[in-house]
């Protein structure tokens, strides 16, 4: 088998490999990556810096993907040399790897301008995940940060730093921000938008030195002025990484020269991405790199034919509230260029189109980028616009959005980043059963880049899927307008540890009965008690650890693991019921005993008298494991379900979850404890255990899905707890397991839990262990209340003497 070696594990290299795999290639593929991460979406680094996404949330290819495609992945190895004659490459670990075909996808390096003092500690670049992590570690509230470079990357970095609380100044050499994408007027609009966000922008400033003795204290400019700074981020552009191309003796100008087939000057060496130059142009945006990858995949796998003929570049700034789009050539000078312009200074909207020979040559949109897709299509297709000349900036309103989608030709690119056409999306929907946006992302890669085509993808799904399911990624509530997934990432990455802090920074400052308990849960799940527990953000049941009844009294359900009790416990419960005149004592459906009608002020006394732990019957958390008698007495039992149930309850008790979790364990398929309609069920069979999840027997009845069949009780318990933690981390608040499993799909649940790579499983287990270690019986609070009047009735200091 031919050996294909890829140098570079980034979007261009791996994107090309994905295409090569589609050609049913016969390559043994090895990918070398200098970074230690799987291929991730570099475009989203600014979202990581801004706390909108977690570092591990931007991966594009999982370790599993490499495994499944039998790709040998060598991370953390830098290739230092190429012997083009012998066809080998050398790594900095001393390894020598032979190749039949070599693919260079080495990308680019940050351009460091000649500035004195750039070697100082607090001077950063912003190019990869490690840079981003380093920056995140360094940032704090009030830190004076200067970003050198007012291009796309510089501005996104600046915004990220600002969200982290830094006091940010952007310093730019040119007379306007994003001068490669904007004209002077557009740059002016952008500048005032950035200033509105609260950062300072300095233009036409040539930085000469970074000041400070050892640490960074400021930066100095050529005009003699200087400003204070504690950290400096250099985002002054990129330089193609061509060192290896040179060493291999390839033709290199500004970058490695390739022809229309993406061939270099060596017959067995190919190149793709930011490190190549095609017809004198180097591309630094993702869409062209993926186009190149498609062509190269055909060439390298023996299907030479498709040609790369250059790309129309387009850039979009990804800063919430600052919409900027630019494409093509927007210069006005050349004769025969018509300019169409629209401006509304008060609204901050600026649009400019340039036309040549009745066709669109370039576009700039600031403040309103809704039409960017239309302009991109006109640019790509070189549409003759003579007949539409009066509606270039303001199309006749489309009455039905479905119509717009329907009129779109199949060849139209919907997702510009990943180059996915309308036809490809429809094919995915019809041929591969795609129903949701999440599936579309996984299956067709659409909407996984910058995300600006999400709406179009949604519309297509709505139009084509017979029973379209809206993705459940919705805002938690209007107090904090983020999805729960985003909020979990924000809490995690910003290390926010109190509900009020989240509401103050990301919300309206006061919250409501919907978001406060949800945020409280996230705090507890992420920080396992190592957070500022704010009882005012909790529902009353979680303030006093009892279930409020219609008359304002409470119910008390002690834990009775597996529904097994003793004479001593029963006597104790009876004594309590009598002593506190409990109006009703009831056996519950979950094999426990409920004491109903208890006054709030009696709760701590009752808990103390009972001496049993809380059964958590009042909260979104681990309720119980219902069991049958198993093998001890039952003549049909084949597995010890009672012991399994008690053990499962012991491992999970005192933990909280997005919604209540009711479990069951049965010793034979007769299913006497109804394990098949529980959130988690263990079903004993002769010689095996089935672990089932997502069952329901409430308002809705749903038979649980099989998670896995295992041989031993211990394996069953392991699988059950793995699922429990996965549900805890990924379900939305108040989403029962049966809704969660249906939304995510049991296939994905399995892949992410019991069939996940070992490291992923260990991660889930470790986090569960940590939570469990810190979890405690809530009823212990009876002895040590969090607040003096948590349970105590306040007596007024004076009374009216009538």
């Amino acid at each position: 088998m031919n050996k294909l070696v890829v140098v570079g594990n980034g979007m261009a290299g791996v994107g090309c490999v994905e295409q090569i795999l589609k050609h049913a290639s016969k390559f043994a593929i090895t990918i070398f990556g200098e970074e230690t991460h799987v291929n991730y979406n570099r475009i989203l680094l600014s979202s990581v810096l801004a706390g909108e996404k977690a570092a591990d949330g931007i991966s594009l290819n999982s370790l599993e993907w490499y495994e499944q495609n039998q790709i040998e992945l060598r991370l953390g190895v830098r290739i230092t040399d190429i012997d083009a004659d012998r066809k080998t490459i050398t790594g900095d670990d001393g390894s020598i790897t032979p190749f039949d075909k070599l693919l260079l996808a080495t990308g680019s390096n940050p351009l460091i301008p000649p500035i004195e003092g750039v070697k100082k500690d607090a001077v950063y670049v912003f190019r990869n995940l490690d840079d981003t992590r380093a920056l995140l570690d360094r940032t704090r509230k009030g830190l004076k940060a200067v970003v050198i470079g007012g291009g796309l990357l510089g501005l996104e970095a600046a915004r990220g730093l600002q969200v982290q609380g830094c006091d940010v100044t952007v310093v730019h050499l040119m007379d306007r921000l994003m001068e490669r994408q904007l004209d002077l007027i557009g740059g002016g609009y952008l500048k005032s938008k950035m200033e509105c966000l609260g950062m300072k922008v300095l233009l036409e400033k040539n930085t000469t030195a970074i000041l400070g003795n050892g640490k960074v204290e400021g930066i100095a400019f050529k005009d003699g002025s200087s400003i204070e700074a504690e950290i400096v981020v250099i985002a002054a552009g990129i330089r193609p990484n061509v060192e290896l191309g040179r060493k291999a003796g390839l033709q290199v100008n500004r970058a490695i020269v390739v022809n229309d087939y993406m061939e270099t000057s060596h017959p067995d060496i190919f190149a793709v991405g930011e490190c190549v130059e095609h017809k004198g142009i180097c591309y630094g945006l993702v869409a062209p790199l993926l186009e190149q990858g498609k062509v190269l995949a055909a060439t390298i796998s023996g299907n030479k034919g498709p040609r790369y003929e250059g790309s129309v570049t387009a850039a979009k700034l990804k800063i919430m509230g600052v919409d900027v789009f630019s494409a093509g050539d927007f210069s006005e000078g050349a004769s025969g260029t018509d300019v169409v312009r629209y401006e509304d200074a008060a609204l901050g909207v600026y649009k400019k189109l340039t036309l040549r020979d009745g066709k669109l040559a370039g576009a700039i949109l600031v403040g309103d980028t809704a039409d960017s897709h239309r302009y991109m299509d006109w640019l790509r297709a070189q549409t003759d616009l003579s007949s539409q000349r009066r509606q270039l900036l303001f199309p006749a309103p489309v009455e039905d959005t479905g119509l717009d989608i329907a009129e779109m030709p199949d060849t139209k690119v919907v997702c510009g980043c990943m180059g996915v056409t309308k036809g490809a999306i429809i094919e995915a929907i019809l041929q591969r059963g795609v129903n949701t946006l999440a599936q579309l992302k996984e299956c067709a890669r659409a909407s996984t880049g910058c995300g600006s085509c999400t709406e179009h993808c949604q519309e297509l799904l709505k139009a084509v899927v017979p029973e379209f399911q809206e993705d459940t990624e919705k805002f938690l509530c209007k107090c904090v307008p983020f999805s729960e997934e985003q909020l979990r990432e924000i809490l995690r990455s910003q290390r926010l540890r109190s509900v009020q802090e989240v509401l103050d920074i990301y919300g309206n400052g006061h919250g409501c009965e919907v978001c406060k308990p949800a945020l409280s849960y996230m705090m507890d799940m992420l920080w396992c008690g190592d957070h500022d527990e704010d009882r005012s953000a909790r529902f009353i049941n979680d303030r006093v650890h009892a279930n409020i009844q219609k008359d304002g009294t409470f119910s008390v359900v002690p834990r009775m693991r597996g529904g097994v009790t003793s004479a001593k416990e029963l006597r104790c419960i009876a004594d309590v019921a009598k002593k506190y005149r409990v109006p009703m004592v009831k056996i519950t459906g979950s094999q426990r005993i409920d004491l109903l009608g208890v006054k709030k002020s009696d709760l701590p006394k009752i808990w103390a008298d009972l001496g049993m732990p809380s059964g958590q019957a009042y909260t979104k958390g681990v309720r119980m494991v219902k069991t049958c008698v198993g093998t001890d007495f039952c003549r049909f039992g084949v597995q010890d379900s009672t012991r399994a149930g008690i053990e499962l309850e012991r491992r999970l008790e005192h933990l909280y979850s997005p919604h209540k979790v009711k479990m069951g364990a049965v010793g034979c398929p007769r299913n006497c404890a109804e394990a098949t309609v529980k959130d988690i069920g263990l079903i004993g069979q002769d010689g095996t255990w089935q672990v089932v999840v997502g069952g329901a027997a409430g308002k809705k009845v749903r038979k649980a899905d099989l998670l896995i069949t295992v041989e031993s009780m211990e394996e069953a318990l392991q699988a059950a707890t793995l699922f429990f933690q996965y549900y805890r981390e990924n379900a939305n608040y108040l989403e029962r397991t049966y809704d969660f499993v249906e939304r995510v799909g049991i296939g994905k649940v399995r892949r992410d839990t019991v069939y996940a790579p070992l490291a992923v499983q260990q991660g889930l287990r470790e986090r569960l262990r940590k939570s469990k270690r810190l979890a405690r019986d809530a009823w212990l609070e009876g002895d040590e209340p969090r607040h003096p009047t948590q349970f105590v009735q306040i007596e007024p200091l004076e009374q009216i003497n009538q």
């Binding site: 009965e513 005012s536 409020i548 009294t553 002020s601 007024p796 200091l797 009374q799």
Partner: protein
């Protein structure tokens, strides 16, 4: 009988945690007092809906959400804000802070008549059941 009003010294401000409420029986009224950080507000401790204990509700800005069925009561006016077809309201009580104490003004000569504002639906009979909710006096 003529109705009289009086300011009652209720409790230390620390006894009512920030953004929480506590029920106190004052002159025959069960009053729910809320700590909003910059001020204290008080309403009758029964939801106009089914008499739920408002003091146990979650505070959202200057409203409280009843723990039983989610009716939202404006603490400044007593009106229910999320049930447009049920224009009912809870009684409000003036409050003030002085020397680290919370004071509530209540009428005392004939409290049962005064337990709801004019136009609001609530019966004296329901009012009596409050004693059970708030626990011991």
């Amino acid at each position: 009988m003529k109705e009289a009003k009086r300011w009652i010294r209720v409790t230390n401000v620390e006894n009512i945690p920030l953004r929480e409420g506590r029920a106190v029986e004052v002159g025959g009224h069960i009053v729910a007092i809320f700590n909003l950080g910059d001020r204290f507000l008080a309403v009758g401790n029964r939801c106009p809906h089914r008499g739920g204990p408002l003091a146990d509700g979650i505070v959202s800005a200057a409203t409280v959400v009843c723990p039983l069925h989610g009716w939202k009561v404006d603490l400044t006016t007593g009106s229910v804000t999320n049930q447009p077809e049920n224009p009912q309201c809870a009684k409000t009580f003036p409050t003030r802070m002085e020397a680290g104490m919370v004071f509530v003004e209540v009428s005392f000569a004939n409290p049962s008549v005064d337990s709801t504002q004019p136009g609001c639906l609530a019966s004296i009979a329901q009012d009596l059941s409050l004693n059970r909710i708030s626990g011991e006096a």
